[in-house]
């Protein structure tokens, strides 16, 4: 069981080593230059940076993230359903209608979020 996950672990280690060594090589062989004040400033197309570096941003982005968690959970529920579907449908069609009713209940929340304008990025 766990044996088949061993190559995944190896792959993760190789990927980490690759990323770390790429950075290390670039530090070792890359050119080095003087640190100047102009070089240290944030890049804003050559102008002197204005205002905060991390300005306030729309609350809509948070809403998107929250809605994502809700609907992503719904998708997680659909995977086990999909896996057993082909066998279960041979006995009765209950599995089809139960998922349909589950999704329709969820759609009430979806329509509420839409009507509230949670995903409306244009004011």
């Amino acid at each position: 069981m766990l044996r088949e996950y061993l190559p995944v672990l190896l792959q993760i280690i190789v990927a980490m080593l690759f990323a770390a060594s790429a950075l290390l090589v670039s530090v070792l062989v890359g050119a080095s230059g003087k640190r100047t004040r102009a070089k240290d400033t944030a890049y804003e197309c050559g102008m002197i940076p204005q205002g905060e570096a991390q300005p306030r941003f729309s609350v809509k982005f948070y809403l998107v993230a929250m809605l994502f968690i809700l609907f992503d959970l719904e998708i997680v529920f659909m995977y086990p359903w999909a896996v057993v579907y082909k066998d279960a449908i041979k006995q009765s069609s209950l599995i089809f209608w139960s998922m349909l009713s589950f999704i329709s209940i969820l759609m009430v929340g979806y329509i509420y979020a839409l009507k509230k304008g949670a995903l409306e990025f244009r004011k």
Partner: protein
């Protein structure tokens, strides 16, 4: 633990990473420039080597030898972490994708795990961290905006991505990606009902939700890999370079590499799910001799290359969406289509008599 298993796994990992992915990434950049040149009626790179073929190598040395500069006002630890996080998910995801049948009796998949597609989504969605952390740690306006945009874009399209593949697993009944390939060898590719027993009307009916699934999945992959028409996170005209504006040298190259590796992995997943993986009608698998094993691998990567070409074609043909259009499209259009599509497929399985 038997050493044979560990050694073959390591060989496959190193082979896939250094013989396939990295050369493919560098030549994908070259191909991108050549394809864009052909589409825009230019010549493209043609100075370094014959027809510019050594351009990727020259680029690699250039990026490696540039000064690795860390501006003073960045958050140093996260600034260094972000490029690593950007490149790792794409490399790790390829572990579960079967890229060939068998070679000398060894299955050509690095890890044939039973969670298959869930592993792909779990790891691929970590890609957003590299971009968000990179944008935030740079402590600069444009990368910050790029990171914010990218996070909500990738989250939104992950929903359609997850929903779009469910019809495939309704049919296969197993999350293992090798099972998906085996099912397609027995019953024909999902996207092409004319392969295999094309007289079966059930397959043609089922091909309709499959094609919708494929289109939604592919467009969601475009959004996930930040490719045009969804490249809002790095829209050059409004955000300078987006989340990688403050990066230089190899750190910039790692972001670039991560993006192209994600594109290759995405294409590999698309090929596995909808185009029969390494299968091609008439070519036997690797149990008939090692030469067929090699041909299977070649077929798989040829299919991946065709998908990558489509990615490039789309990029240089379509204009970019506006942000509100992008969100509307993801949440209203693709989300609903993918959801309805699942029930269409389920309905066909339940009530349309199969033969």
């Amino acid at each position: 633990m038997d050493p044979f298993f560990i050694i073959t796994s390591l060989l496959k990992i190193v082979g896939i990473l250094f013989v396939v992915i990295l050369p493919m990434v560098s030549y994908a950049v070259y191909a991108e420039r050549k394809v864009s040149a052909a589409i825009q009626d230019r010549l493209g790179p043609n100075r370094v080597g014959p027809a510019g073929l050594f351009q990727p190598i020259a680029d690699m040395f250039k990026l490696l030898l540039k000064e690795d500069f860390t501006p003073r006002n960045v958050n140093t630890f996260y600034y260094w972490l972000a490029p690593c996080l950007a490149v790792m998910p794409a490399i790790i995801t390829i572990a579960v994708v079967p890229f060939g049948s068998t070679l000398f009796g060894v299955p050509m998949v690095i890890a044939d795990v039973n969670v298959g597609i869930l592993f792909v989504f779990a790891i691929a969605s970590l890609g957003v961290y590299g971009i968000v952390i990179g944008g935030w740690a740079s402590n600069s306006k444009y990368p910050f905006l790029g990171g914010i945009r990218s996070s909500s874009q990738m989250l939104s399209y992950e929903l359609s991505l997850g929903l779009a593949v469910i019809p495939v697993f309704l049919l296969v009944g197993n999350l293992r990606l090798t099972s998906v390939v085996r099912y397609q060898i027995e019953h024909g590719w999902f996207i092409a009902p004319f392969v295999g027993d094309w007289m079966n009307p059930w397959k043609w009916v089922l091909a309709v939700p499959m094609i919708i699934s494929f289109l939604v999945f592919m467009i969601a992959i475009f959004a996930e890999t930040n490719r045009l028409p969804f490249d809002l996170p790095e829209a050059e005209q409004e955000l300078a370079g987006g989340y990688n504006t403050e990066y230089s040298s190899m750190k910039f190259a790692l972001f670039f590499l991560g993006e192209y590796a994600a594109m290759i992995t995405g294409s590999a997943v698309i090929v596995t799910l909808f185009f029969g993986g390494w299968h091609f009608p008439g070519i036997p698998d690797g149990s008939r001799g090692w030469i067929f094993g090699v041909i299977n691998i070649a077929v798989f990567f040829a299919k991946v290359a065709i998908m990558i070409f489509i990615f490039m074609w789309v990029r240089w043909t379509l204009p970019r969406f506006r942000y509100d259009q992008l969100m509307r499209l993801g949440w209203l259009f693709f989300f609903e289509i993918a959801l309805v599509n699942i029930f269409v497929a389920a309905w066909i399985l339940a009530y349309f008599p199969s033969s």
